[in-house]
Subunit: 202 residues, 2 copies
DNA sequence: CTCTCCATGTAAATGGTTACATGATTCA
DNA sequence: TGAATCATGTAACCATTTACATGGAGAG
């Protein structure tokens, strides 16, 4: 389990409600972690019971009241300890890749449509990351920002997310073209960027 | 649940034992799906009970006997249906990214060491993908292979895996350098490749 | 003689998803 | 009048991880 630590990490940027965090876990954060609202509500309750976060009620008018949480000293210590512990291996779950792996056993054109759709969502995410990075950077150039800012974590992970989505866009788009070309008997396109480690064979 | 479909997809390339598949799910396949041996043994048992795969015992000398599985007609049909169904959204779980997000709350140099270590494993995976792709391609060039081969799924997903690991290598390496430069007060390095959607601000 | 690889599992515990539940406000 | 947003949860179910269990062969 480490939704726990993803939640603590998110609270480093200041207090937040379960609802707000659920939104973030579906856009920004979703590049390295994913969670549903129900999970966050549960996790925040457990973290508060363990003394790692502490919540206060915020009364609102015209909308439901909410409960915002912030890190406690114990929470910061746990986060620091977590950072220095060895990491578990990462993983990806991507159904579309499973489908491409098995494309010979199904409808390649239907799959190409799904790839196009996913390419569109990648495009949307790229735009969001671009804005996020620009906002964090403010009016500094990147190198100055990275040298001087007291908070660079979200910027660094944002760059990884941006690169990932750009790779997705390229691969989804090109793969859909390859599948259509094979189905239509037209010539398959070349990859947009050659990859060094992978020498053309002969 | 879709370990089920990842297993069926893997069996498109021919029969395999649970043990063999467990190895693949930790190297090749691990770029889009991940599973432990226990899960695979269980899933294969369920799939066989459901008639989607069928197994036979292979008696071996000098090593334990094994049970190899192959797709049934029902299994192929399920795979075809799966490919045309809408896909669930993908997700990544990457503890190291959570740590980078929270780097201000912990030991940046310890984290840089972890990033270096992960960069090394990325390098190893890049080499494996290079070999896998070359093997699949045989003596054809990529475009010809993609146009003419009857089995391109593993090649296409291999390319995505290769690109992913190369992005990992670049980002892990550069991020470790940034963290060390900040800790030492030396100048932070620039990113190796500029990213288009992310205009230098001003 | 110890470690790793081959090969397959069971059981318990933890984690994640799906379905259900509520209710006011704002926008089209 | 219907849908989306804000806001928080419970309960049941399913999936995944961790721990445990076994045992022969070959390499160092």
């Amino acid at each position: 389990m480490s939704l726990r630590h993803a939640v603590l990490a998110a609270l480093l940027d200041g207090e937040a409600s379960g609802y707000q965090m659920a939104k973030n876990f579906d856009v920004a954060v979703s590049n390295y972690w994913h969670a549903l609202p129900q999970q966050l509500y549960g996790e925040l309750t457990r973290l508060e019971a363990g003394g790692l976060v502490s919540g206060r009620d915020v009364v609102q008018t015209g909308r439901p009241n909410k409960r915002v949480f912030h890190l406690t000293e114990a929470g910061r210590e746990e986060l620091a300890a977590f950072i220095s512990r060895p990491s578990k291996v990462s993983f990806i779950r991507e159904e579309l890749l499973v489908k491409v792996q098995a494309v010979e056993g199904g409808d390649a054109l239907a799959l190409a449509d799904q790839l196009d759709e996913r390419a569109m969502t990648a495009l949307g995410k790229i735009a969001l990351f671009g804005k996020l990075l620009a906002r964090l950077r403010g009016d500094l150039d990147e190198t100055t920002f990275l040298a001087e800012s007291s908070r660079i974590g979200p910027y660094l992970t944002g760059l990884r997310g941006l690169a990932f989505e750009q790779e997705n866009l390229e691969w989804f788009t090109w793969t859909a073209e390859v599948l259509r070309a094979r189905a239509n008997g037209t010539t398959v396109p070349r990859r947009p960027r050659p990859i060094s480690a992978d020498q053309p064979s002969g």
